[in-house]
């Protein structure tokens, strides 16, 4: 049965947040423009005062759903709104920035956080993507697998979530390996 169901208005940020992130800007004007661009793109956000230990630019930041960090950065870049960075609310956590590389016969698997991307070292074709749990990952699988590392739209341009951001890091490392690092069988 197909269920007719009304699209619900998005809840207020305070009701739904898995965890909040904060976009920091140099100026108040940029923060206001950033909030406007994000809301126009349908991203839940609000202007807030950053806590003192996170103030790097102006005294206004934009609070976001941390899960949507990838989409937020993309929208701000496309809107031409400069921002300093997206930070974890407690200011003490950083996104994982290490990758692990495993070689299996003619293939190379790059692991970044909870995501793995495997490519054929002879052709540069992405042959598999595994891991992750966000809804855009099966979509990214359909968009990237069987395509060349150099020809795909990068994951953070297609996806919206932190899983997509991790996959993007894996893709970036895989591309660097394909372009230059020696690929030795192990």
């Amino acid at each position: 049965m197909v269920i007719g169901w009304f699209w619900k208005k998005r809840h207020e940020l305070s009701e739904e947040v898995l965890e909040r992130g904060l976009v920091l800007f140099h100026t108040v004007e940029q923060a206001i423009a950033g909030e406007k661009a994000l809301k126009k793109a349908g991203i839940t956000c609000r202007l807030v005062a950053p806590p003192p230990h996170l103030r790097k630019g102006c005294d206004v930041g934009v609070e976001i759903v941390l899960m949507e960090q990838t989409a937020v950065e993309k929208v701000l870049k496309e809107a031409g709104t400069p921002f300093i960075e997206v930070v974890h609310p407690k200011g003490e956590r950083e996104l994982l920035n290490i990758e692990k590389v495993t070689r299996l016969d003619n293939y190379v698997m790059v692991k970044a956080g909870n995501m793995k991307l495997t490519f054929d070292k002879n052709t540069g074709i992405i042959v598999n993507i595994s891991g992750g749990g966000c809804p855009d990952i099966p979509y990214l699988y359909s968009q990237l697998v069987d395509k060349h590392l150099e020809e795909v739209t990068r994951p953070k341009e297609l996806g919206r979530t932190l899983c997509a951001l991790m996959l993007d890091r894996g893709w970036e490392r895989a591309l660097a390996l394909w372009k230059g690092e020696e690929l030795c069988s192990s």
């Binding site: 197909v2 739904e16 898995l18 974890h88 692991k111 891991g131 749990g133 809804p135 099966p138």
Partner: protein, 293 residues
């Protein structure tokens, strides 16, 4: 009834509730054909292969399109929270969804009010949400991989992308410690099946089973091979096995399917799923005493 809830990467897909069945090379839900690739449909396919073999009713699937906006996730969770009593599943398995803590809490509140609540299974984004909502101990089984057990063991982390570096480094070698930590910080479900080079089944803080053979490294590369394990676990639970036994059988079956298929890192999960009937026929009776004539 086994009810599997999770999104599919088809933006225009409305909210659909339907039993799953095969239609050629596709899974059919209502009038929709969906390929059984990585994600919710790989899980559903593995569950359907299992229920078909065991002669159980097919899994019902509640799904909607979502490519990361959370739109389909909201439809699924809102519908579940409002209709869980009339659906009254014996097993509720939650899968690829945007991890939205408020929705998970709302659903759990509805589930907890049922006179006979379902067995609860979670993997992927739904597992992330359950952990972030501090609901892990209320779930019967989670099926994390090593990076996800590191997340469950990290009290502060909101997503596997934010786990501590020290937990991420050499995590495959530290899985047993991470399992212990996950239970200690209330990040673990009652039973855990940690999928990896070695599959660990743990219950109430103790590792009860380690499944290591056959070890086929290519499986780690193949998108959906974790989803198949979760699907089989859910299906075995719907056949009234307990979570510990369901976990052991699912882990063994996945490895046995890989042994038949002999995958490369480029193999698709559909090839693994297609081998399950043979795996069950050849092994299930010996493994569990479940003998289908």
């Amino acid at each position: 009834m086994l009810l599997i809830a999770g999104t599919v990467p088809v933006p225009e897909m409305p909210l659909v509730l339907s039993p799953a069945h095969w239609e050629g090379d596709c899974l059919r839900l209502a009038e929709y054909d969906l390929p059984y690739t990585q994600g919710t449909m790989a899980m559903v396919s593995a569950a359907l292969a299992t229920t078909s073999y065991l002669g159980l009713p097919p899994p019902h699937v509640l799904t909607a399109g979502d490519i990361g906006t959370g739109s389909g996730t909201r439809l699924i969770y809102d519908y579940l929270a409002e209709h869980i009593e009339e659906l009254h599943p014996e097993v509720l398995a939650l899968h690829y969804c945007q991890p939205i803590i408020a929705l998970m809490k709302k659903l759990y509140e509805a589930v907890s009010q049922l006179s006979s609540p379902p067995r609860l299974v979670a993997d992927a984004g739904s597992m992330y949400a359950a952990k972030a909502a501090n609901l892990s101990p209320h779930f019967d089984i989670f099926t994390p991989d090593p990076s996800e057990i590191a997340f469950l063991a990290d009290f502060e982390a909101s997503h596997p992308a934010y786990i501590s570096r020290y937990l991420f480094e050499n995590m495959e070698e530290k899985v047993t410690d991470l399992i212990e930590k996950a239970y200690a910080c209330q990040g673990a479900s009652k039973v855990l099946l940690v999928k990896g080079k070695v599959d660990y089944v743990a219950k109430e803080g103790k590792i009860l089973h380690e499944i290591q053979e056959p070890n086929i490294p290519a499986m780690e590369c193949i998108g959906g091979t974790g989803d198949t394990i979760t699907g089989m676990v859910a299906a075995f639970l719907s056949g009234e096995l307990d979570p510990e036994e369901a976990a052991v059988l699912a882990a063994k079956a996945n490895r046995a399917a890989a042994e038949i298929v002999k995958p490369t890192p480029a193999t698709r999960v559909s090839a693994i799923i297609d081998a399950f009937p043979q795996v069950f026929k050849e092994n299930l009776c010996a493994w569990s005493g479940i003998c289908i004539r």
